[in-house]
Symmetry: C2
Subunit: 201 residues, 2 copies
């Protein structure tokens, strides 16, 4: 009964925005559609305006983060896996710093908040596996410990990517995660070895 939207155009614009973000080019309505053969109205058809575009770009950021986390294949050592997930979070932030920054813009509004929850859930699952393996105490709440791991990873990423810390501050990840997981009940020496093995940001 009418023309239908082409989903290709939607992802084309999102990818182009992400690419311009990485190239540090200013993203304006006109510069975004320039060279694509599209008019500025396309942004309104597919995103309702620039706000909607940014929201979609943030979503894309979480999608790419999820892809990074998926590259971490579970091993026999769940504490190593926890550290590896944290390292993947840092890798993602450092690989595309401007995309990472926009992910936390504008009050964290997302189209699909479940994407962020799902990323966190990978951490929760790793904590559960560590508990099942007897590495953490029974009293440990997986969601709480996962949130605390996220806080450390995000704090580091934010201070390095956005803030004043140099890249070598990445090394703080090992002692901080070791301290956290040790306080959750893991054996200190074994914990440090596991974290060091997983921490490859």
């Amino acid at each position: 009964m009418a023309r239908t939207k082409d989903p290709t155009i939607r992802s084309l614009l999102i990818n182009r925005a992400a690419q311009m973000l990485g190239a540090r080019e200013p993203i304006t309505l006109r510069s975004l559609v320039a060279g694509t053969g599209l008019s500025t109205m396309a942004v309104y058809t597919y995103f309702g305006g620039m706000d909607g575009l940014w929201k979609a770009v943030r979503q894309e950021g979480f999608t790419r983060l999820a892809a990074r986390l998926d590259e971490v294949s579970p091993s026999a050592d769940p504490v190593r896996d926890l550290a590896a997930l944290g390292a993947a979070y840092l890798s993602n932030a450092l690989a595309e710093p401007d995309l990472y920054r926009t992910m936390f813009d504008a009050g964290f509004e997302l189209e699909d908040a479940a994407a962020a929850d799902e990323a966190l859930h990978r951490l929760v699952h790793a904590v559960e596996r560590a508990k099942a393996a007897g590495r953490f105490d029974h009293g440990v709440d997986p969601l709480e410990l996962a949130t605390q791991s996220w806080t450390i990873g995000h704090g580091l990423a934010s201070l390095i990517v956005i803030g004043p810390l140099p890249r070598q501050a990445l090394a703080h990840g090992v002692p901080m995660l070791t301290a956290l997981f040790t306080s959750a009940g893991d054996d200190p020496g074994r914990c440090r070895r596991s974290v060091e093995r997983g921490w490859r940001p």
Copy 2:
């Protein structure tokens, strides 16, 4: 040999910008000077443009943070003081979330980077006092441990103020700082009590 700038106007504009930030009003060149009797050129005379204004606002954010940290009076328990400094950092971020957010905008460019260093130095000093009191191991590097405390405080603040965590996630501060300070050598039980006493965000 010429007219001189009035420093009053400078701080007037900075304070007005901070107030508008808190009121969630959009800060534009014209809206900023509206009602002040000044013309838009004042922003160029005193800040060189909007970029300079934002830089000055970020600086103001660190000044207010420093004032918050100064309200933490050193006690006989340096570990409590460390937690109190972290709590003050959180209080500052939660009291003026939009100002906190702008502090980490635009690649952290500041007029006077020493202001940020000085804030960190308060943490370093507290760690040194804790070492002198025999609470932390001799091998502990004060700057490293201070940076790690900051990472935890900033990670929490960022995820609560900008990100998706609810305010009650503030409670994570106690176990996280306890884990960190315990790994630095403090006695677990004593450490937790100290942190709990200082953590009043």
